[in-house]
Amino acid sequence: MTEAANPDIRSRQVSNMRVINNDAMLIEQYRKGDSAAMERLVLKYQNRIYNVILKICADPDDAAELTQETFVKVIENLNKFEGRSGFYTWTFRIAVNLTLNYCQRNSRLAFRSLDAEQQQDDSQVKHVLKDFLSDDSAPDPATEVQNKELYKITARTLMGLDEAHRAVIVLRDIEGMSYARIAEVLDIELGTVRSRLSRARSKMRDILEAILR
């Protein structure tokens, strides 16, 4: 189904347009000297930005720092923002770029902590994970996994992916971005998003199976 034909997607697009208009208004107000307008933008997006960064870098302190740095960069570069992409997309592009640069510099640390933690897998959690993955019935997309230990394993599995794959999977599955939006944020082709996401999920599956072995 194309995006335009799907009523859910169309209503999402309409609400996105409202958001974009609202953002543009706040930016205009800030440019006229109203700093409260920027605070509203920060309040509006900080949780989503923080959540995405945290899922990519896996360290709450660093995620908070990177989130703050994102908004500082947004403020510093707002005069260069021409509105060709939405404020939301532009801000996420800054956030993801900062985070990926950070991850590349600290990749050794991430892998080390992953290796260390892998030894501590609880057999009970493995059992839960095995049940979840081997259950042959079709999963309900609305299902939410309610097991804290599974979250930890999932977070570690994400950290086992390289940064580029991790970013694409987080933007899609956590932030719920469309492929087109991900392409815009990461500045890559739509086809690359498709193949990268596919490889990321396959690799995730491999890592999960390795944890279970």
Binding site: M1, T2, A5, I9, Y30, R31, K32, G33, D34, S35, M38, E39, V42, Q46, N47, Y50, N51, K55, P60, D61, A63, A64, E65, T67, Q68, F71, V72, I75, E76, L78, N79, Y102, N106, F132, L133, D136, P139, P141, T143, E144, V145, L150, Y151, T154, A155, V170, R172, D173, I174, S178, Y179, R194, S195, L197, S198, R201, S202, M204, R205, L208
Partner: protein, 335 residues
């Protein structure tokens, strides 16, 4: 040339995976979607693969949503209030004035800043004339306000300075410092660790006792450091005394002095001592200093605090307790 059948199979699997993932994410046209549904109905392996991929997607999507800490907004506010972000009205002004005028204005502003910096350095040079000291670890630095951001000028007479530590074991040392700060009950004031890529910044504000206790802990990892340099703030804005190859005992001694003048004098003495010790092949002086050999200082005629401080013999009136105890130290850990 014959093609590798395994490679064909892999490529085909990858294409199927891409289709299945696009199907899961609702990113296919109606025709493609129907095509995938036909495939799933006909091939149980593909149906199973779809379920696996869906489960991966569900696992990630189910991860708990984390909310940004309040410090994020506070930090952004501080940046906006602090004025380090350029004026909000600038773009509108730029539009009106035109690019050429703005460029000219920037060039003039840069020229004015350079002139101002030159005038300031001349003024500072007159106020704090450089002394004849060996090259290396002793110096009085003149810096612009921006470059000394971590070392603030204090109105109180307490110790204020910056400790720059370099190590190749950044993470290990970082972890140790953090735990030392966390575990140290004597540190009564706020400690704000900041983390920026390859460097870690800790702003420590505490009592002298707290600092001594922290330094005792840090002494255990001193051998892990490639270098340790202490910048002691003077009462002249933007001017610092630099002590290279500083030890924890020296930091404690400097911070323990009652007045700013004494701290500066002692810092200069230590800088000379450390510089001499570093330049000696067998580091005899360093060993002797640590052993507390007083004859050595006489032999080398090295400035010891007792000799250089002209206020030593005069008993100073007691300072208020709060002033005595104020210590502000910015620790910068880098590799």
């Amino acid at each position: 040339m014959k093609e590798n059948p395994d490679m064909d199979t892999n490529a085909s699997n990858e294409r199927i995976d891409e289709l299945l993932n696009s199907y899961i994410d609702d990113e296919l046209t109606v025709e493609r979607q129907a095509e995938v549904e036909r495939l799933i109905d006909q091939d149980t392996k593909i149906a199973q693969r779809l379920r696996q991929l869906q489960k991966c997607q569900i696992l990630v999507a189910s991860m708990p949503y984390a909310e940004a800490p309040a410090s994020v907004l506070e930090g952004v506010r501080a940046v906006m209030v602090g004025g380090s972000v350029s004026s909000q009205k600038q773009p509108a002004y730029e539009e009106q004035a035109g690019r050429k005028y703005v460029l000219l204005r920037k060039v003039l502003a840069a020229a004015a800043m350079i002139t101002l910096a030159a005038v300031l350095s001349v003024v500072i040079h007159r106020i704090v004339p450089p002394r004849n000291t060996p090259e290396g670890s002793v110096a009085v630095e003149n810096r612009t306000a921006e470059s000394i951001k971590p070392a603030r000028m204090l109105a109180t007479s307490g110790f204020s300075g910056r400790l720059e530590l370099k190590t190749s074991a950044l993470n290990a040392v970082d972890a140790f410092i953090k735990s030392a700060i966390d575990d140290n009950n004597d540190l009564s004031a706020s400690i704000n660790p900041e983390r920026r890529q390859s460097r870690r910044i800790y702003s420590v504000s505490c009592t002298r006792e707290g600092l001594n206790s922290l330094l005792d802990d840090l002494d255990n990892i001193w051998t892990e450091l490639d270098s340790a340099t202490l910048f002691v703030n003077t009462e002249t804005f933007g001017t610092q005394t630099v002590v290279g190859a500083v030890t924890t005992k020296q930091i404690a001694e400097i911070a323990g002095q009652e007045s700013s003048e004494r701290r500066i004098e002692l810092a200069k003495d230590f800088a000379v001592l450390n510089n001499l010790a570093e330049n000696l092949p067998d580091k005899e002086i360093q060993v002797a200093i640590e052993a507390g050999d007083s004859s050595l200082t006489q032999q080398w005629r090295i400035f010891k605090p007792v000799l250089t401080s002209n206020q030593k013999a005069v008993k100073k009136p007691a300072e208020p307790a709060q002033e005595k105890q104020t210590v502000r130290l910015t620790i910068i850990l880098d590799w």
